[in-house]
C-alpha cells in the first residue's frame, strides 16, 4: 500500500482542549478513505491540517512526501495546487458566476486559451449536473447545488488529492446517489486519492476502500469497511448504530441533571 498522506504522532490543541492527541494515521494513494466520527471530533480540522491552513502543535504530517508544517509558503502553495478541497459550505466566490468559479483555477494555473478553458469548465459542470447553471450566481443556487458547483471547481485542475468535507449533508437522495457515483468514478478513472469526512455511515461505508474512525482525539479503528462493520468495539458499534448511550458521551459534560433541576439559588 502506497501512502499518500502520512500523519505521525500528531497533536493539535485548540486552547487547552486537545483535538488530536498523538494521532497516527495513513491515507493510501489512489483509494477512497472515509474519516468518520461524532461531531466535534475534529474531522474538518484534519482536512485543514492536510491543507496546511493550521499547523500541528507536535508531530509530522506529510502529503506526497512533502512535510506540510515545515514547508515554505511557496512550497505550500505548490502542494495545494495538487489538492482540491470541497468545503462544507461550498465556499463559492460570491462575486463570480458558477462558470467563473470553475474557470478561475484554470485561468490561474494553466496556459490554456479561452476556448479550451470553456470546454473544460463545461465538462466539469456536466459531470455534476450543473452545465445549465453555468451563468447563475452562487446566491441563486440551493445549498446542494452550491456544493456540487464547488466540487466541479475542486476537480477543475485534476488534482491528485481531493478532500470532501461532508459532501452528503443536505443533499437529496438523487444528488446523494450521483455524488457517491461521481466520487467513485473520479477515484477509479483518474486514480485520485480521496479523503471523505462524513458521518453519513451508509454512504461512506459503501464507497470507501479504507475507513478511519476518530473519537476522543484518537483513531479508534482503521481498516476496511467490512472490518468496521464486523468490529465488536463498543465505541464503533455505538457510532454505527447511533445509540445515545455508550462509551461515547452524547451529553456535553455537565453537573448531574437531577441535582441541577432541584437546585435553588
Amino acid at each position: 500500500m502506497e501512502v499518500y498522506v502520512d500523519v505521525k504522532n500528531l497533536s493539535f490543541y485548540r486552547g487547552n482542549r486537545a483535538i488530536y492527541d498523538n494521532v497516527t494515521l495513513q491515507i493510501p494513494k489512489g483509494k477512497i478513505t472515509a474519516v468518520m466520527g461524532p461531531s466535534g471530533v475534529g474531522k474538518t480540522t484534519l482536512l485543514r491540517l492536510i491543507g496546511g491552513q493550521v499547523e500541528p502543535d507536535s508531530g509530522t504530517l506529510t502529503v506526497d512526501g512533502v512535510d506540510i508544517a515545515a514547508a515554505s509558503r511557496k512550497e505550500l502553495f505548490e502542494a495545494r495546487r495538487k489538492m482540491g478541497m470541497l468545503f462544507q459550505s461550498g465556499a463559492l466566490f460570491s462575486d463570480m458566476s458558477v462558470f467563473e468559479n470553475v474557470a478561475l483555477p484554470l485561468q490561474e494555473y494553466t496556459a490554456f486559451d479561452k476556448e479550451m478553458i470553456r470546454d473544460i469548465v463545461l465538462m466539469k459542470l456536466q459531470s455534476v449536473g450543473l452545465r445549465g447553471a453555468a451563468e447563475l450566481m452562487p446566491s441563486e443556487l440551493s445549498g446542494g447545488m452550491a456544493r456540487r458547483a464547488a466540487l466541479a471547481r475542486a476537480i477543475a485542475l485534476d488534482p491528485d488529492l481531493v478532500m470532501f468535507d461532508e459532501p452528503f449533508a443536505g443533499q437529496d437522495p438523487i444528488s446523494k446517489g450521483v455524488l457517491v457515483e461521481l466520487i467513485q468514478r473520479l477515484n477509479r478513472a483518474a486514480n485520485i486519492t480521496s479523503v471523505l469526512v462524513s458521518h453519513d455511515v451508509e454512504e461512506s461505508l459503501s464507497i470507501a476502500d479504507h475507513v478511519c474512525l476518530l473519537s476522543g482525539g484518537t483513531v479508534i479503528l482503521s481498516g476496511t469497511p467490512d472490518e468496521v462493520r464486523s468490529s465488536t468495539d463498543e465505541r464503533v458499534v455505538q457510532f454505527l448504530q447511533g445509540h445515545a448511550d455508550g462509551p461515547v458521551a452524547f451529553h456535553y459534560p455537565a453537573q448531574e441533571y437531577r441535582e441541577q433541576l432541584l437546585e435553588r439559588k
Binding site: R48, G51, Q53, F77, E78, R80, R81, M83, M85, F87, Q88, S89, A91, L92, F93, S94, D95, L104, P105, Q107, E108, Y109
Partner: protein
C-alpha cells in the same frame, strides 16, 4: 496588580495589532494579482463599488455643506461690507479642511464599512480559505485591489466634494443673496494657490485614504467569522477610521499651515 496586568495586556495587544496590520499592509501592497489584465479588471471593479457608488453621498453632502458655508459666511462678512470674500472663504475652507475631512468621514461610513463587512463575510463563508486552498493568495486577489482602489478613489472624491461645494456656495451667494459674481470669483482667484491649498488638500485626503482603507480591510480580514464578529468589526472600522482622520488632520494641518 491586576490593573497593571490588564494594562500591560492591553498595551501589548495594541502594539501587537499595529505590527500585524503593518505587515498585512506591506504584504498586500506588494502582491498584486499575477496576471496584469486580471489585476486591472479586479481593480476597476473595486473602483466602481468603492468610488463610483460613493459619488451620490459625496456630491449631495458637498452641495449642502457649500450652501451652508455660503449662508453663514455671507451673514458675517456682510456686516463688514466684504461679502465678496465669500468666494475666498468657500474655496479655502473646502480645499484645505472640509473637503478631505468630510469626504474621509463619509467614505469611512459608506465604503469602509462595506469593505469590512464584505471581507468579513468572505471569511465567514470560507471563501478566503478557499482561495488559500487553491494556492491563490487572498491578500493578492481580494485585499490588494480593494486597498489600491480605495486609496486612489478618495482624493478624487475629495476634489469632487470641494468642487461641488464651491459651485453650490456660488449658487447661494451669487444667485440668491446677490453677491456680485465677478468679485466672488476674483477673490477666490487671488487667494487660492495651487501648491499650498489644492495640493495640500490632495495630500491630506491621500493620507486619510490610506488610513481608512487600511483599517477597513484589516478589520475585515482579522474579524471573528461570526455575525457578531462582523458587526463588531464594521463598527470598529467606522469609529477607528473617523478618529484616525480627525487625529491625522490635526497633525497634517499643524505641519502644513502652522507657522511656528
Amino acid at each position: 496588580m491586576a490593573v497593571f496586568k490588564y494594562l500591560f495586556a492591553s498595551i501589548y495587544g495594541f502594539v501587537d495589532s499595529i505590527g500585524q496590520s503593518g505587515i498585512f499592509l506591506f504584504q498586500s501592497l506588494f502582491r498584486l494579482p499575477v496576471r496584469y489584465k486580471e489585476a486591472l479588471r479586479l481593480y476597476i471593479r473595486q473602483v466602481y463599488s468603492v468610488g463610483v457608488l460613493s459619488l451620490i453621498i459625496i456630491v449631495v453632502s458637498g452641495a449642502f455643506i457649500g450652501m451652508v458655508l455660503a449662508l453663514q459666511g455671507y451673514t458675517i462678512l456682510t456686516r463688514y461690507g466684504s461679502e465678496a470674500a465669500v468666494g475666498q472663504l468657500l474655496a479655502l475652507t473646502l480645499l484645505r479642511e472640509l473637503g478631505p475631512v468630510v469626504t474621509g468621514l463619509l467614505f469611512a461610513g459608506r465604503a469602509g464599512s462595506a469593505l469590512t463587512a464584505e471581507i468579513g463575510l468572505m471569511k465567514a463563508t470560507e471563501q478566503l480559505s478557499s482561495y488559500e486552498m487553491m494556492g491563490i493568495d487572498p491578500l493578492r486577489r481580494v485585499i490588494a485591489p480593494r486597498l489600491l482602489a480605495g486609496i486612489t478613489c478618495m482624493p478624487i472624491l475629495a476634489l469632487i466634494f470641494s468642487a461641488v461645494g464651491v459651485w453650490a456656495g456660488m449658487m447661494v451667494s451669487v444667485h440668491w443673496l446677490g453677491v456680485y459674481e465677478g468679485s466672488f470669483w476674483s477673490s477666490m482667484q487671488q487667494s487660492v494657490y495651487f501648491d499650498t491649498d489644492v495640493m495640500n488638500g490632495i495630500i491630506k485626503s491621500f493620507v486619510f485614504a490610506v488610513a481608512v482603507v487600511w483599517i477597513a480591510v484589516y478589520q475585515g480580514y482579522v474579524c471573528q467569522p461570526t455575525s457578531e464578529g462582523i458587526g463588531r468589526a464594521t463598527t470598529r472600522t467606522v469609529v477607528l477610521g473617523s478618529l484616525a482622520i480627525l487625529g491625522l488632520d490635526f497633525l497634517l494641518t499643524a505641519a502644513m499651515f502652522g507657522d511656528f
